[in-house]
């Protein structure tokens, strides 16, 4: 074991010395490699953490939301609709939700106006989300006016600001009383935006949906599972696009690495011949090159991953911000809770470290099994 280690140290000594001879080139390669791992790791860490976050937080959302469809579009729930649903076994509670969108011409942003179920703000008061607090410079007890779609100006007092910690789900919310909501939007009395059902037994949810479909053919039940599925697949598209773009980079890097590794220069071939002539075994030469590949790829992987971790979880993935923000004026400021998928990391490791090590080894194998007498015939 000790002897083995001593040998490996010699091999590493040698491989580092030969890397140092082409310092700029190898450092450049290492940098590009690290950057590549950094990008890939950032994307996977970010999307995984966000999906985890969504799954955990939205697990508390209503089991079933019932929308009414008119001509394939979402429509208001008219009075008497809930009664038509009647009693369905397993449904604990049935409540109409009131919410809608408001476009604020001042900030050119969309807000979500909503009437909370329990202890709504008093008449004339609102509770705003943290992004609103920032974009409109609001604070507790400030007054703010919104011009409603009917043209009338409504003034509200900010009773409270939702906690910063909840920003990921509440950034653009404006909570108000039912009375204010209906007055502001001219929302007809007795109508609701949709209906939230609580179902105690998760096994019952499907049955409830089936019964709803039978009772009200124009209803569209949205199950919590579907909500969760929506977020489980969020960024799948963009991840795909990013990976598609990155795949070009990966290919380019692959060519670079392959070229560097397989374009074994005459100089390197001569060196291998010398090493073999003076008593290195083919295995020693291959091990020496294996260390080269492993050192470069492992360094790149570790550095890239650690940088990606810091980027995503300590700098809020700030490099991605322009991509993720889209055109939204209100963008939530949030710090993702790090959930790291070991399998993803292992996959990343496998797909970044192994190919490079292989790319280094293959041509060396060919060169190393040639006869050592070539050095004498030069």
């Amino acid at each position: 074991m000790k002897l083995w280690l001593a040998k490996q140290r010699y091999l590493i000594d040698f491989t580092l010395a030969s890397l140092a001879r082409r310092k700029t080139r190898n450092l450049g390669l290492l940098l590009v490699y690290t950057l590549l791992v950094f990008m890939l790791a950032s994307v996977t860490l970010y999307t995984h953490a966000l999906r985890q976050e969504a799954a955990r937080v939205l697990a508390a959302s209503p089991e079933v939301i019932v929308q009414r469809m008119v001509a394939g579009r979402h429509d208001l729930i008219p009075p008497g609709y809930m009664e038509k649903i009647g009693r369905i076994r397993g449904v604990q509670k049935m409540e109409g939700r009131l919410w809608g969108y408001y476009y604020d011409a001042v900030t050119k942003a969309n807000y979500t106006f909503m009437v909370p179920a329990g202890n709504p703000p008093a008449a004339g008061e609102i509770v705003v989300g943290p992004a609103l607090e920032r974009s409109r410079g609001l604070a507790k007890d400030n007054g703010i006016s919104f011009r409603s779609y009917s043209g009338k100006l409504h003034t509200f007092i900010v009773a409270d600001v939702l906690p910063q910690a909840s920003e990921l789900v509440s950034a653009d919310l404006v909570l108000m009383s039912e009375q204010n909501f209906r007055a502001f939007f001219d929302y007809p009395v007795g109508h609701y935006t949709d209906i939230a059902l609580s179902v105690a037994n998760p096994q019952e949810v499907r049955n409830v949906a089936v019964k709803l479909g039978a009772a009200l053919p124009d209803a569209r039940p949205i199950l919590r599972d579907e909500v969760l599925r929506t977020y489980a697949s969020i960024y799948d598209w963009r991840e795909g696009i990013v990976l598609a773009l990155l795949s070009a980079a990966i290919l380019a890097f692959g060519i670079l690495a392959w070229e560097k590794a397989s374009g074994l220069s005459a100089e390197e071939k001569r060196e291998i011949g010398i090493l073999k002539a003076i008593g290195w075994e083919t295995g020693d030469v291959i091990k020496m090159k294996f260390w080269e590949g492993l050192l470069i790829s492992l360094t790149a992987f570790l550095a890239g991953f650690v940088a990606a971790y810091v980027h995503v979880f300590h700098f809020a993935a700030s490099l991605f911000e322009p991509v993720l923000k889209g055109w939204a004026v209100l963008y939530p400021r949030f710090q993702l809770t790090p959930h790291i998928d070991g399998l993803q990391v292992a996959t990343l490791f496998f797909f970044t470290v192994v190919p490079y090590a292989a790319a280094v080894l293959v041509p060396i194998w060919k060169a190393a099994i040639t006869d050592p007498d070539s050095v004498m015939r030069s």
């Binding site: 073999k276 004498m376 015939r377």
Partner: protein, 225 residues
């Protein structure tokens, strides 16, 4: 020490340009003697050197080292023999660029895993013996031809071989350096090492150090002095 019998070596065998570099060599190299192979270029002396040095296998014939047939041994064993018993001084010196003189010298000992301190001590000793101690940390490409050769000699000796093989050792040296080399060679012979070299340099083959000169032509031994 080494016995060759019926050695033939072909290059590009089975192709149109098939060429027999060695054509029936029977030779016995005695231990603790300085033997020189002499002949024009293309006479097969370097090829013979590669076969004696286990760098290549003969196409036909047998090589015996200390009575043991080694021509059929697998590559790994040949490498081990090369490392333990032979030291090579190549015509082009074949040092690894970018490494210091010391690092070059200890290179053949890497696969043995011997402690580095021990290797460095031995290398320093060898360098000092060839009056090159002051250049030990210089990169080999900064050394002069003569210095490079002395580094190559030190490298050949790091594993304390019984047989030193030198291919055209004076081809890249001027007369003064060639004389110095012969002095070094004499020292090695005095240490009891077997030396086999190729040369067509009269300064080498006519020197007193060389005890046996074998003439070669067209892959055959033609004469012996």
């Amino acid at each position: 020490m080494i016995e060759l019998s019926g050695i033939r070596k072909a290059f590009n065998q089975g192709h149109d340009n098939e060429y027999w570099a060695l054509d029936g060599i029977d030779l016995s190299i005695e231990a603790k003697k300085v033997t020189a192979l002499r002949g024009p270029s293309g006479s097969g002396k370097t090829t013979l050197l590669t076969i004696v040095g286990c760098l290549a296998r003969p196409t036909e014939g047998r090589v015996r080292l200390l009575g043991e047939d080694i021509s059929g041994l697998p590559e790994r064993f040949l490498t081990e023999i090369r490392r333990k018993r032979f030291g090579f001084i190549f015509q082009q010196f074949n040092l690894i660029k970018g490494l210091s003189a010391l690092d070059n010298i200890i290179l053949p000992a890497y696969p043995t895993g011997r402690p580095r301190r021990e290797l460095l001590e031995r290398a320093e000793e060898l360098l000092a013996g060839l009056k090159l101690g002051h250049r030990r940390h210089a990169k080999v490409e900064w050394l002069s031809g003569g210095e490079q050769q002395r580094v190559a000699i030190c490298r050949a000796l790091i594993n304390d071989p019984e047989l030193v093989i030198a291919d055209e050792p004076t081809a890249n040296l001027d007369t003064h350096l060639s004389r110095e080399f012969m002095g070094i060679l004499e020292g090695l012979a005095d240490q009891g090492r077997t030396i086999l070299l190729t040369s067509h340099d009269p300064l080498v083959v006519e020197s007193d150090v060389v005890q046996r000169v074998i003439d070669m032509r067209d892959g055959k031994l033609i004469d012996e002095h």
